[in-house]
């Protein structure tokens, strides 16, 4: 007799009498556990979102160090409205190398001359002509 023939004739077993009760008990437990996990997950998500928002606001408000900078003239009120601290240039004065006092030189740069014109039209040239008879002088461009 082959093994697989005997397999079919092996003793059959059934579920114990309290099988249904145990399954229903575990079902109720599993449901409770699931709802508990869902609640924990909900609170965890809300907490992490709140934490993220708090960190974002802290960075945005400049609470963290190294966030102060001098602002350009005229922009003070606008920046102050945003809660950004503005320092006067004199506040940057201090002791430089070898303990000698140093004054920072702030130079404004007009970037208009640095940028190449993109318009294909030729630049307008104004010719200034002398209209007075008092002095004779050349025409300056």
């Amino acid at each position: 007799m082959e093994g697989h023939d005997i397999l079919g004739k092996m003793r059959k077993v059934g579920a114990p009498p309290d099988f249904d009760d145990r399954v229903f008990y575990r079902l109720r437990e599993a449901r409770r556990e699931r709802s508990r996990r869902r609640a924990v997950l909900r609170y965890a998500l809300a907490g992490s979102a709140a934490l993220f928002l708090a960190v974002f606001l802290m960075l945005d408000r400049g609470i963290l160090p190294g966030r102060t900078f001098p602002g350009p003239e005229g922009k003070g009120p606008a920046l102050a409205e945003k809660g950004l601290e503005i320092q006067a240039p004199s506040a940057l004065w201090g002791l430089g190398e070898a303990g000698r006092p140093s004054v920072p030189v702030l130079e404004t740069v007009d970037y208009a001359d640095e940028v190449r014109r993109s318009s294909p039209e030729p630049r307008t040239v104004y010719i200034l002509e002398q209209v007075s008879d008092v002095r004779s002088s050349g025409i300056y461009y």
């Binding site: 697989h4 397999l7 092996m10 579920a15 399954v23 575990r26 079902l27």
Partner: protein, 194 residues
């Protein structure tokens, strides 16, 4: 009420319908898992887990195959996972376990406990890949097409696995028979000398 209607109700959270499905399948599932694992307590536990999954995953059931195939699929997956875990948890080397086939008695009588033990041990040694289709075919009486649906493999693969599994089972039983015969011969010769 047919099975499809029952599972539809379970999908809506009907516990009564769930109880009906459990009443229909609990004995078959426990029997299947018992023959797979060889441990009745474990079989009952896995069967309980199977029905819990039937309840919670009912929404995923699609009436393409039969309900029984779906439930057996869940049970088979749980049994395979458990077998894998048990293998990992085993701390004793297989080489240290004595081959006990020779200690059983082999008679061609299915009621004989020695044969059942030999068969049980031979089944335990079969890889789950072969054990699942063999038990589904020879114990539960599923067709090859149904087994293919349950284990989600082509019918050709199922045929090959059943054939290979049976072959391994036969060889193991023959080995047990030879071992017993050798043991009896030794005992006879020792008694003869005495």
């Amino acid at each position: 009420m047919d099975e499809q209607e029952l599972i539809r109700r379970v999908q809506n959270g009907d516990e009564w319908a769930f109880g009906q499905i459990m009443a229909l399948y609990k004995d078959r599932i426990v029997n299947y898992l018992y023959h797979f694992s060889g441990d009745y307590q474990k079989a009952v536990e896995l069967a309980q887990e199977t029905f819990l999954r039937v309840y919670f995953k009912a929404g995923k059931y699609r009436p393409i195959g039969s309900l029984s195939s779906w439930i057996y699929t869940i049970a088979s997956n749980l049994a395979k996972t458990d077998a894998r875990r048990s293998r990992r948890a085993a701390t004793v080397s297989l080489d240290d376990i004595p081959n006990d086939f020779a200690s059983g008695t082999y008679y061609e009588d299915p009621d004989d406990p020695g044969l059942v033990r030999n068969l049980r041990e031979a089944l335990d040694e079969l890889h789950p890949r072969y054990r699942v289709p063999v038990v589904l075919k020879d114990v539960e009486g599923f067709s090859q097409e149904e087994i293919a649906r349950i284990i989600d493999r082509p019918v050709g693969t199922v045929k090959a696995r059943i054939s290979r599994g049976r072959d391994q089972l036969r060889r193991k039983l023959e080995k047990a028979l030879e071992g017993r015969a050798a043991k009896v011969d030794n005992e006879v010769s020792e008694h003869g000398r005495a």
